[in-house]
Every structure is written in structure tokens, then in C-alpha cells.
Symmetry: D3
Subunit: 141 residues, 6 copies
């Protein structure tokens, strides 16, 4: 069904295998998801995406569960069925309760509704929301 | 610029005004945003959207700031410029720091990147992610 | 396959069941669609969505069939496969002919084509289309 | 602001001018909208789009106003600000009342909300909605 | 699964068959893809789309493979699973290597990431990018 | 107008400045675009995005101009006005002719039209397009 071959571990290049090994040890799992087996066809992109993901989803200023729920929200907006399943599962693994999941979906759906209203009415941004009015104009030198 | 007229308070119907009054007292503000002045052309929808928003964004199982950030994430995915400005401002008002805003945008953008990869490779959902395999099949009676 | 459990009638809470009963009697059907069985996990959202839908899709100023076709148009734009199936079926139940369905899809597809052209050329809105130039500026008091 | 030059009539090629002339006489207007002045940079596409639009939006099995409202619905979903302005104006010119406009936007926004719910819950299509189960399988000869 | 019936050749109207025959001889294939069997329900749209596609994807100023890859990029952005499969296959038939496919997907995904950043930060377009500042304003006469 | 401050060079952190310096020397320009001045608020993301962009858009298996046009195609699909302007300008700087630009937009728009048709008809993917039927199932060990 995929447009690229899902590679088994022994079909991957050495470079791809080293990334897969890092995913497995970082996440303490035996087998990676299909996303990584598909991405393994392009070891350079596999490495870049994994390294980026570790940075972006790693420790920072937001709660790890909040970050997974934001990922679910974007995946819903993009209609990415694969991503919805994998990130909903990830959010559950990080402690998302059924009630929190329901509330997440309610917020996401409500946002789509008011987004559609604001867009179709072409509402101009309120002056008081334009906090960056005084954008910097000095030259870079 | 809008496709509907932005109504001033004294141009609104009594039904619209009563909703606007509730928004002003609930949010403790003098003047509502343009979104509501545009929606005031349709008092029934104005009331329905405001009542829904109070329920969805009110106290629940998720942190209020997390909910605003989810709203920003959806607004970015939908390219709703108005919504991005109003909900970024709302998130700041609820305590979002500059670092949290940066991290929110990094997560949103990363999600768009991996969504595009999963979609364009048409990756099949992993069997272990299909937690709902045993969906209920009994009749409703 | 769903990310939430589809609930059978006897698995639902009393609050959810009362909404499902209302859907069944309003629509004069024995069993509701999967959408409602999924939404039944969150009785408050189930009720809010059903009540909103009754208002929005109920008698008003537009023909009921036109409203279903607008729903199909939005569902196509969002790539919502479930919604396309359910609202295409609903439009047929409201009398949409094969020829009308074909014409609906032709309009939807044409709109996507010209939307893409206008967006990619970044065409500025014509002055004569800005009917709301004189937006109201008086204060709400 | 546009990514291509908006051409004045005397800057267009003869082929482009003949299409513009047909738009002006068909619509009984003196000056065409900016969309056509932008498209005039590519006379072949200008002709193809205009001829397609005449066919798709011309007399058929749907009410002309319903077709314009479907166009508005798609334009809102795509976030095409130009298209929203031009097709909202066109719908008004075809008789759309303020109440019908409000109802159109309410339907569009509601559809976005339930689309987001169905997508994020990954609801499987109901068996009874799959009317085309018996798709034809005979060879084309 | 489809919302319209996929027509076998002997179920099509004469007008639809003549278009299908042209597709088969132009592409030197025995059987057309499901897309055309679905579109055959509406012979006028079938003809219009096929004639447009021949013009747009035919010889011009861009490399045929580049055009197929652009089609894949749009299909990914729209989350059109059918289109992704058919145009990825078409690109391969026109010589796209595995390495080129990987690079295409990397560019597409990167574009989604930076699009999301630019949109969510609402970055104003740089003055030097507005090459069309002096848009033509003369009348069409 | 932006939701984050556009930073002038002397307002940036040392880490941000070193990335900006690399952009300026790599591209041989005096001043970077607003996108980078906005991203400079988050030096870690600024560095990650710039390093990724250099890899993805650098020498590879696709023509640099083709890659810029793919970027334009995605930006149009996402309705990212900023990205459309910056990548259309970048494509022109890499040699895109007016005729090539017109053809790019025609392909993009046509793809949106057929995407909408395939999606709204829910056309099942042809068996012969599922080239990856035999996806690997061996374990990663």
C-alpha cells in the first residue's frame, strides 16, 4: 500500500541501521514503527528527521504530553491517518487519559469551526493584537 | 476588507448585544475582538459559537494554556491569520513564555514535516497501533 | 481502526444514550452511524455537536439539499473520507440526482483549480469587491 | 503584491485580449477582475480556465446561486482570500441574502468541526454507506 | 468504497467511451485507471478533464518528469492517497530514480516545515520580494 | 504584523548571529529575509532549520530549479503567502522563465482539480499501482 518499500532491518544500509538502533535504544523498544522502515530507504533523511525529532520532542519548556497532543492536533488538521494513530498512541503512553483525549478532540474541532468562520468572513486582525507593530528596521551591520 | 460588515454595538440586534455583553463580562474587557463584531450579523450563530467556546475552553481535564496552544497549532495548520494572532495573544495572556512559544512553533512545524513524509510514503498503520481492533458490533437495542 | 472505541448502545452512559435516542427518533432510524458511536465516548461533546447540527442543518434560509452539498464540498476539501461517504449518502437521501452529484463535484474541483491559481499568483483583492470598506469604528458603549 | 504582473488590456497579447473580450461581453462588464489580469500572462491557461469555468458554472442541474455558494465553501476551506471576496460578491449578485450568507457560513464552519472529529477519531465508514460495494470488474473490452 | 460507481467499458455512454479510447491510445495501454472509470459517470467532465490534462501535462517549457514530481508534491499536500499512488507510479514510469523520489519527498516535507513556521510567525513579505509593486492600473479600454 | 518580533542583527544572541552570518556568506547577500529575522528568536530552531535547508536544497539528484518549483507548489497548496513570494523569487533567481512559471502554476492548479475529483469520488487505488504489495515482514533482529 505504501509508495516506498518498508525495509526490514537486514535490508537496510549500515547508515540506516545505526539510526534504527538509536531509535530502538532511545525508546527502549524491539521494533520500530513502519514510518521508520519506510524512511530507511533514504538514510540521510532518516538520520536528519530522527535527530530533529529528538531535539524538538525532547526536554524543553513544554510538558511532553502537551507536545504529543499538539502533534495530534496538527495531524488531524493535515488528515494524516498514520500520524493520528501513532501520536495518539504516543500521547496515551505518556499518560493521556480518555477524558483528556476527548477534550483535546473537542478543542481541535472547535478551532476548525472558528477558523472557518474567521477565514470566510475575512475578519481583519484587531489593532491591539498586532503587538509587533514596532518591528525592527535597522540594517544587519 | 471583511466579507461581512463589522457591527458596532449600537448596530447590533438585542439578541446579539446580550451575547456581546456576556463576552465582555466573562472576559472582563470593554470591547470584544473583531471576530465577534463580524459574527454579530448572525445572532443565533453568535450565541451558539460563544456558548460552545465557553464549554470547550472552560475548566476541564487539560491545562488552559495547553488548550490555547492547541488552538494556535490548528490555526497555523489552517493558515488562519486572524486566529493565529488572536490565539497567540490569548496564550500569552495565559502565561505562555517566549521560550514556550518558540517550542510550540517548533513542534507544529516538525509535525507538518513528518505528516508530509508519512502521507507521501503512504505508510500503513502499524498493527500494534490499532488498539481498537475489537470494535463493538452489538446492535443498539 | 478508529483511535477511540466505537461504543455499542449498552456500553454508553445514560447521558450518551439519551442523545442517541434523540438522533434515532429525529432521523427515524434504528441504528446511528459510526460517527455517533465514536463520539459517545464524550457525552458532553456528543450532545453539543448533535444540538448544533440540528440547528445548523435544520429549517432555515437555504434548501436542505443545498446544505448537504455544501457539507460534501467542505468534506472533499478537508479530505475527510468518512464525511464524504456519510454526507454524499445524506444528499442522495434528500433527492440529489446522479447529474446533480456530477455537477457538484465538477464545481468543487474547478474551485480548487482557480483557488490554487489565485493563491499562487497572490492576486490582490479588487477594490470594488471590498464592500465593507466603511467598517464600523464606534466603541461598544 | 502579486507574484505575477497584473496586465492592463493594452499590455496583453492578442490571444489574451480575445478571451478578456469574451469575459467582458459574457458578463456584461467593462473591466474584468484582477484574477483575469494576472492569468493573462499565460494566454493558453487563461483561455482554458475561462472556457472550463463557463461550462462548469453555466446552466446545468444545480441552481446558479447554489453553485456560487459551493464555490465560497471551497474557497473558505482553502483559505483563498481573493476567491472568498470574489465569489461572495458573485453570490450576492446572484441574489444571496444576508440570512443565506450567514447560514452558508454556519454550515461551512459546522462541517469543518465534524470533519475534524471524524478524522481525528479515524471513524471507519459504515457498511451501509458503501453503496458501491459491487464495483464493476469486467475488462474494458 | 467509492462514492460513485466505477464503470466498466460496456457500461459507459458512447461519449465516455470515445474519451476512454483516446486515453488508451494516447497512453498505449489496454485498461485505464480507476480514476477514469469513476469520472466516466459524467462524460462532459471526463472529456474536459482529459483534454485539460493532455494540454497541461503535454510538451511545454518544463521537463515531463519535473511536472509529475510537482503533481506528487501537490497530491501529498492535499493528502490525496489515490493521486499519490498514481502520480508516483507515473513519475517512475518517466524515469524517476529511487534517489530522486527520496529527494522529492525530503523537499516536500521540508517545505511543509518552513511553511508552517512562516505562517505561524505571520512573517511579513520582504519589500524586495514584492517585484510587482508597479502593477498596471490603466483601464482595459 | 508578525506574531514574533523581527530581530535586527544587533538584537540577536551570539548563537543566532553565527547562523545569520553563515546564511549571508553562503548566499552571498548583505541582509537575510524576514523569515530568518523572525526565526532568530529561537537560535536552536534557527540553526536546525538552516542546516536542514542547506542539506535538502543543496546538491543532490534533482535539478536545483526543479526543487525550488516543488517548494512553490507546496507553498501554494498550504496557502503560505510569504513562502510563495520568497520561493517564486528564488526560482526566478535560479533561472525560471516566465513561461516556466506559468506552466508550473498550470500544473499545480490542475493537480488541485484532479485531487479534488479523486478524493470526492473516493476512488480506490488500482491494484497495479500497489507496487509495494510484498512489504517486508521479517523482524528487525
Amino acid at each position: 500500500m505504501s509508495t516506498v518499500k518498508l525495509l526490514a532491518y537486514d535490508e537496510m544500509s549500515d547508515e540506516a541501521r545505526s539510526v534504527i538502533d538509536d531509535i530502538r535504544s532511545t525508546r527502549n523498544i524491539d521494533e520500530v514503527n513502519n514510518f521508520w522502515k519506510a524512511l530507511a530507504n533514504d538514510p540521510a533523511t532518516l538520520r536528519r528527521i530522527w535527530e530533529s525529532l529528538k531535539l524538538v520532542m525532547g526536554p524543553g519548556h513544554l510538558d511532553p504530553l502537551a507536545k504529543e497532543m499538539i502533534y495530534v492536533a496538527v495531524s488531524a488538521a493535515n488528515g494524516c491517518d498514520y500520524c493520528l494513530h501513532s501520536h495518539t498512541a504516543a500521547a496515551r503512553a505518556k499518560g493521556m487519559s480518555t477524558e483528556q483525549h476527548s477534550e483535546l478532540l473537542a478543542v481541535v474541532a472547535m478551532a476548525h469551526q472558528t477558523n472557518a468562520l474567521a477565514t470566510s468572513m475575512a475578519v481583519p486582525v484587531d489593532t491591539q493584537l498586532l503587538v509587533n507593530r514596532e518591528t525592527s528596521t535597522s540594517s544587519p551591520d
